[in-house]
């Protein structure tokens, strides 16, 4: 599903190039539930942006669902985000004046296809919020808002669900609800990448990758995965 080889990312600060990701090779299989963790500043946000095609690597190769992503232009990246990636954010990022249903519709309006409303309603039902379709975000609890955001991520039937600290703004109970929802989705066969610095959340994943200083320092997956074992080994 995801095949990253020797990915590097530098940011230019003035004349100095600051490395954020220093050579990451990473394979993620279809249906995998993976957590990306590490201390703040370790490069996990940058790596997530690269996986989510929000940004392009400075060097290396990235194949998503069999398609090479490095070197694509902005429009093509937009199209890939629309078709293959479902984002879930820490602060939900719902449009405040739109209803839950309208928020879920959002990715579909950037496609030229019909039946938007029905698809959005189905996605909302799949996270158990069919009865909240016409509520505004402010009328929903934090957990409900995040479930709306997850429905928005799922509505395009993406290849991969990318969640950035999805429980960061939630209380314990709501966090558990959201984590339970991720488990459900995993059982249904979704590929999930969960970015979190909370070990309690990360341990729910079947595989945990720990980053430090832009390199993978730990991968809990089987040693049978040769590509993963060599992660971080290249300059």
């Amino acid at each position: 599903m995801i095949r990253m080889e020797g990915i590097q990312k530098f940011y230019k600060v003035g004349d100095v190039e600051v490395p954020a990701v220093r050579g990451v090779s990473l394979h993620i299989r279809k249906g995998e539930f993976m957590a990306l963790t590490g201390p703040s500043g370790c490069g996990k946000s940058t790596l997530m942006n690269l996986i989510g095609c929000l940004d392009v690597p400075s060097a290396g190769s990235y194949q998503l669902d069999g398609q090479e992503v490095a070197g694509l232009d902005d429009d093509a990246l937009s199209a890939i985000r629309n078709r293959k990636i479902g984002f879930v954010f820490q602060s939900f990022n719902l449009l405040p004046r739109a209803t839950a249903l309208e928020n879920v519709e959002l990715p579909l309006i950037y496609r030229d296809e019909g039946g938007i409303r029905a698809k959005a309603a189905a996605a909302l039902a799949s996270v158990g919020l069919a009865d909240r379709a016409h509520h505004k975000p402010t009328e929903l609890s934090g957990g409900q808002q995040q479930r709306v955001a997850i429905a928005r991520a799922l509505v395009t039937d993406p290849a991969i669900l990318l969640a950035d600290e999805p429980t960061g703004n939630l209380d314990t109970k709501a966090s558990e609800e959201v984590v339970a929802l991720f488990h459900d989705l995993h059982r249904q066969g979704r590929t999930i990448v969960l970015v979190t610095h909370e070990p309690d959340i990360a341990r729910h994943a079947e595989r945990v990758i720990r980053l430090r200083d832009g390199r993978i320092v730990e991968d809990t997956s089987d040693a049978e995965e040769p590509a993963v074992a060599e992660a971080g080994g290249r300059p």
Partner: protein, 406 residues
Amino acid sequence: MKIVSTIRVSLKGLLANKLRTFFMMLGVLIGIAALTVIISVGQGAKAQVMERMEKLSAFGAVMVSPGGGVTRGLGSVEAVPATLTAEDAQAIKADIPNVRDVAMAQVKQNVAIKFEGQSTTTSVWGVTPNYVKIRPSPVARGEFFGPEEQASAARVAALGQETAAALFGDADPLDQTIRIENVPFKVIGIFKKMGATPGGGNLDDRIFIPHSTAARRLFNVTHLSQLAIQIATREQVAPAAERVKQFLRERHHIAPGMPDDFSVRIAEQMLGVLTGTSQTLTIFLSIVAALSLLVGGFIVMNIMLISVSERTKEIGLRRAVGARRRDILAQFVLEAGAVTAAGGVLGVLLGLGGALIASRVMGWPAAISWPAIAGAVAFAGVVGLVFGVQPARKAAALHPVEALRG
């Protein structure tokens, strides 16, 4: 992304902050409303002058009056220089090409008129019968005098509506005998109601009698108050006027460098003088209104820039879920365009209402000029697009990662 959904997204964005949208619209609305009122009233004023000129039907004619300089209205025969004569009229008709007809008029102002117990004063015009062909004065009842009455210096008169009313009230003036400076005249015709001249004269308060009668029986002068020269086509009016001028200078033996002892006017020129002022004013006010529209455009741009920076996270989210740069660009350009277009349409409605009220309450003429209004709305749209593009480009240029950070 379909254009329909882009429009829907833009409209939702506008409705999300109604107060801000209203303020964006306001600048454009006021500018367009002002422009609409100015154009409507300006057009109305022009149409009014044209209508009055058409009523006089002085187009295609050259008017000559005695004395140099430009005078307004017609001088009374006892007051004007005796420089214009019937011989001049005949010579012009005989010698100048493209002259179709020449009519003569002797006018005396403030003449006492009596009918039985009633009396009034008005202007008496002694005119050749062809005068009303050059400057039509249609008769509502009875008839106008012809060559026979002119030849016999008949004591017959045609009355303006107001003159008739002053003397006869509701009674029938036809075939009654009135006294003009104590000379009896038979009323043979009543003119149709004509209103005012562009110069402010009253066409409904005057009496027309044959020129011969006026010259021999009433005024006892031979010189004229006016010559009306009908030119074959309107294109020839201006050159003919110039020729008349030279011709009369020679006939009157005016040395080079000396001023004319007559003045030549053409209706087209008078129209220019009369409409010129209001047109200049209209143009000046239109420029002011257009400037206010430009200010409205800057307001739109500023508020859109604020809107873009406030909605950075929304832009980031849209980019994350697949919006291309051009989708974001289209969204914000359309927001600005929709606001200004709505402001334009509302401005036109408000302006037309204002023009209507102005014409009802203050008696200003108002005419709706649809091409001008369409132009104003199009201008508003252009303002919206021009001033909307910069903020929209800023929005589209945001990097998704940075935009998501807020």
